[in-house]
Symmetry: C2
Subunit: 222 residues, 2 copies
Amino acid sequence: MDTVASTPSGPPAPRLRADAARNRAQILAAARAAFRESGTAVPLDEIARRAGVNIATLYRRFPDRDALITQVVVDGFSLVLDTARVAAQTAQTDPLAAVQSFLQGMIDNRELLSLPLIGGPMTNDPHARDLQQHIAAALEEILAAGRSAEVLRPDITAVDLIATAALICRPLPHLPPEQAATLATRHLCVFLDGLRPEHTRALPSSPTHEEITAHLFTEETT
Amino acid sequence: MDTVASTPSGPPAPRLRADAARNRAQILAAARAAFRESGTAVPLDEIARRAGVNIATLYRRFPDRDALITQVVVDGFSLVLDTARVAAQTAQTDPLAAVQSFLQGMIDNRELLSLPLIGGPMTNDPHARDLQQHIAAALEEILAAGRSAEVLRPDITAVDLIATAALICRPLPHLPPEQAATLATRHLCVFLDGLRPEHTRALPSSPTHEEITAHLFTEETT
């Protein structure tokens, strides 16, 4: 009975109690899985059922569908940003290893991601937009280190790494997850070898990060 | 009124008349689009409506959902095989260009493909299985030419090319198709540079084609 936890007349707790935090994580995991399988129109009581909480608990954490969608997307971008920043820490010593660390992290965490470029929901949340800008900046930092050490081809961009992450982190359907991950990792190894500056042919020109992101957020409705 | 074409008492026509062939192509195109958007459980009268034919016409061409699903998958594998065989014709003169031709063809024809590894339906049709074997053989022919000319890394397999085709031919959601195609093509260029034999690091070991295809067909129910 999670309603026992409510003390409407008392002061707000300094932080979510452990079971409330657990409920919240369960709801978000259930929403990610449900959005992936059935799209964002999936009924909220179906999400509550999958999460093992009652619908009142879901509404207490997320007042409406948009709040739930936004949190799922923000969590996804936060995980991508964490992965990019961890990778960027090694960029000065081994930029190619940093690129590999970021992209392999995307393959390894694919089950936790629900983002527009991999078929997840869209949002217009400013925090999500900020996170996306920070991701591009962290990747650009890695690439700049690689260019200046002349171990990465100069024509690769943060947009390329974002597109590559999106292409390789969607699981190949029907295959067992470990086979799909192995094939994605082999593909990634060849791609990484293609990032070296020797013997590379010019890439076709790329859309900019701004041009890409313009399509990944819903329009303001105000 | 497509029923005007029926002459039940006459002999069967030597081939589908032009409008019947057109109806058939419209039904298959509508089925591909509907399967992609809503899965294979989409009602057949919804497919007939999208195709602009009446449901009786659909049932005359495809007696049940399985027949329609099978033809969509067979058409997809046939297009992949055609692309692989055209590419294989240039394998003796330029194996790397042949690989590029195959993979770029997959990107260019993505709208016409509905196959298990890109989220399309599964089938257990023997013709579809045969086509898949022929695709692997055509790709292996290209790779063998590249290995023997020492212009391709020796550890790349037909399975890698199939997985790569599946990874790069799924459109990046929400982006305009031309942006998504450009990003996929840039990614492909880097991958192709990584196929050269110089300076390559060993790939992790791969599942075999048999191991992969075991997951891509439905089980016999007999």
